[in-house]
């Protein structure tokens, strides 16, 4: 009996030892567990803040807006050095929903506003330097006047550094461009951009290219498939 009890105690002690070893290993960041943790952290950085909402039914305009912002297939992120670039496809329904901001809107009113966005494929580009804690134009300034130069570049000239490339290698210039200036309120900058959809409509893939002259990171490309862009919830209306 004494022998059995001692054996059980031995097993319990061994098990406890094992668990404590496991815990230490995952915390010190050197072990496989630790590395996996780093791996996961890195993956989290590349993914998006919220899990996408899965709609089993049609979405209201406000739900639609929330969905687009978090849907993984409509968002792509790329990190080069310290700089994180994110692109989000904005369907015309998003543009209209975001403008109306009313779930009780009548479908006829919604459609008429949605139609004003026809002819252009819209995207949002977000550029951020995580941890910098300041607006893009202020990061690593070499001289005071450089801030104004950067603001000018971000406000106007960056439009010329954006294009969309179709399956047949046609290059489409950016025709809609708006730099959303936040005056240091946000640690990132966002740009609403748009390309004429005449050629894009028939292209199975489109590659949106930003030639980043601000951080000298060169050509930043995002390849998106039309099938994925069209995969959005159906809108529902009260009236």
């Amino acid at each position: 009996m004494k022998f059995v009890l001692a054996s059980v105690f031995g097993l319990v002690v061994s098990a406890a030892l094992l668990f404590s070893c496991g815990a230490d290993k995952s915390e010190n960041g050197i072990s496989y567990d630790g590395r996996n943790k780093a791996n996961n952290a890195s993956k989290n950085q590349l993914s998006f803040e919220y899990e996408p909402i899965v709609f089993e039914q049609a979405a209201t305009p406000s739900e639609f807006v929330a969905y687009i912002k978090t849907a993984e297939h409509l968002n792509k992120t790329k990190t080069i050095g310290d700089v994180q670039y994110q692109i989000t496809h904005l369907p015309k329904e998003y543009m209209a929903s975001n403008e109306i901001r009313d779930d009780n809107v009548a479908q006829s009113v919604f459609d008429s506003i949605r139609n004003t966005y026809d002819g252009v494929e819209y995207y949002m580009i977000k550029i951020e330097v995580p941890g910098a804690g300041m607006e893009l134009a202020k990061i690593n300034l070499s001289y005071q006047a450089e801030y104004e130069e950067r603001i000018k570049y971000l406000s106007f000239d960056m439009q010329n550094n954006l294009k969309a490339i179709t399956d047949d290698s046609s290059e489409i210039n950016c025709t809609v461009y708006h730099f959303e200036r936040t005056y240091n309120i946000t640690p990132y900058s966002t740009f609403l951009i748009g390309f004429p959809d005449e050629k894009l409509k028939s292209s199975k893939f489109r590659t949106v290219v930003l030639n980043d002259n601000l951080f000298n990171n060169g050509l930043i490309k995002f390849k998106l498939s039309l099938d994925q862009l069209l995969n959005t919830p159906i809108l529902k209306f009260q009236k």
């Binding site: 890195s42 990171n217 050509l219 490309k221």
Partner: protein, 170 residues
């Protein structure tokens, strides 16, 4: 005594079992940097772009050289006036100025593109290493950072495919 042997034995066996059941081995690999650089889509795209930019500037420079040779012929003629000689001098200065500008442009652009390529290549190799469970990826080049590497550890082809996919934004 026997009791302690059993207790320690069970503990030891459990520890051996724990260490032998690690989920996945961390890998060490190396890449041939020259081959990676040569095969990187961004390098080839920017090389083409640079060649085009330089060619455009060369055409402008050629036309200046042509005008300069005409001015020289006129300036060296026996009946050349001071105005023609002065004109040649001016054009020659202009040519040297443009040539210097061309050389500076070529050097600066090459440096700029090299920096961009290196930044993105480094980032994508790091992404590849992280995603594929590498402990270390070494760079093999003519400088001799890796003096010997087993062929099995050469991940250049895999890494090249991965970095090109990343660059293309897939």
């Amino acid at each position: 005594m026997l009791l302690w042997v059993v207790v320690l034995g069970v503990g030891a066996l459990s520890l051996i079992n724990f260490f032998s059941s690690e989920p996945e081995q961390q890998k060490i690999g190396y890449v041939d940097i020259d081959r990676l650089f040569e095969g990187f889509d961004m390098k080839n795209e920017l090389q083409g772009k640079l060649e085009l930019e330089l060619k455009t500037k060369e055409i402008i420079l050629d036309s200046i050289v042509y005008k300069l040779s005409l001015a020289k012929t006129k300036a060296e003629a026996p009946d050349a006036t001071d105005e023609l000689k002065w004109n040649f001098q001016q054009q020659q200065n202009y040519f040297f100025q443009e040539k210097r500008g061309f050389e500076e442009f070529s050097m600066n652009r090459t440096q700029e593109y090299d920096q961009q390529i290196l930044k993105q290549m480094t980032q994508y190799v790091a992404d590849y290493g992280l995603e594929n469970n590498f402990k270390v990826i070494l760079g093999k080049n003519s400088g001799g950072n890796v003096l010997y590497g087993d062929v099995g550890n050469d991940v250049t082809d895999d890494a090249l495919e991965a970095i090109n996919a990343k660059y293309q934004g897939i």
